[in-house]
Amino acid sequence: MTEMLLVLIIVLAVFSLISRDLIHSVIALSAISLLSALIFTLHWAFDVAITEAAVGAGVTTIIFVWALKHTSRKDI
């Protein structure tokens, strides 16, 4: 289970690097945070899982979207 999730995280990370539309990258990063929160939950680290879900999927996504809104959405 953990290995599967880790492989999925790597796939999403590569996708977020090579994606042309940066909004898609941000969504992939947010999905990475959710999957890592799932991994932390599977390993009984609930405190870390809560932090990862709140910070990774919530706050940083909004900050990234704000930064994209003020710059360019396309990757050059």
């Binding site: 690097l17 405190d47 899982a49 709140a54 706050v59 050059i76």
Partner: protein
Amino acid sequence: MKMKTAAVHVIVIFALVLLAGCLFIPDDTPWPTDVRTRLVSDGEKDTGAKNLVSAIYLAYRAFDTLGETIVLIVAIIGTMSVVESVKKISDDPTTAVTYDFSLVKEKRSSHKLRTHLLEVVTGKIGPVVLLFGFYVMGQGHISPGGGFQGGTIIASGIMLFILGNPYSKVTEMRQNKILSTIEASAFVLFILVSLLSILTSGIFFSNPLEAAGVKYEYYIIALNALIGLKVGSGISLMCIAMMSRRRT
């Protein structure tokens, strides 16, 4: 495109280095278990916190937590100053503002940032998220969670409210300085509470009311609440500063 291939090369090399590092991890060394055994046997007795993570970061290692809160406040100060200087350039009224979130036939200027989806999400989920944040913050000593976790969840809840409100409301929220007052007073109180125990018992970060019969558990609850208020108000302050526009 050239930048892109260079970046991909750097990433591949970095991944290979990391994978090569995995080969040199010794796998026959036993894990150190002394601290773990001590914490499992004595942690709850020493601090009264069922959640051992809380017991560590607010009792055994409370001094590190003080450092963490200082790091966070410095980060927020830096972000606020950067955001303020960005605002000065980008708030030129001649540049047209495009609202990506608005519905197709939405004509009201106050609703340009609002779609039905956003309104439903912020109206229904926002209060629940806020309540959950306060629950995580207050129950940090007996269930997973604590000040930092609860604070970030509170900030997420406040951000849901920000997303559903037009710019003018968010700017108003920024003007009346409630959040910055909460953050500053929580930080000052946190330092005061940690210093108070020097007067009573002579030890930094110990329970100041121990002689009066107050359990250490309640000290942890108070510290969790202060940290949660500070983190929540600080992060939401940062996001409000990003998403509001300066009143001209």
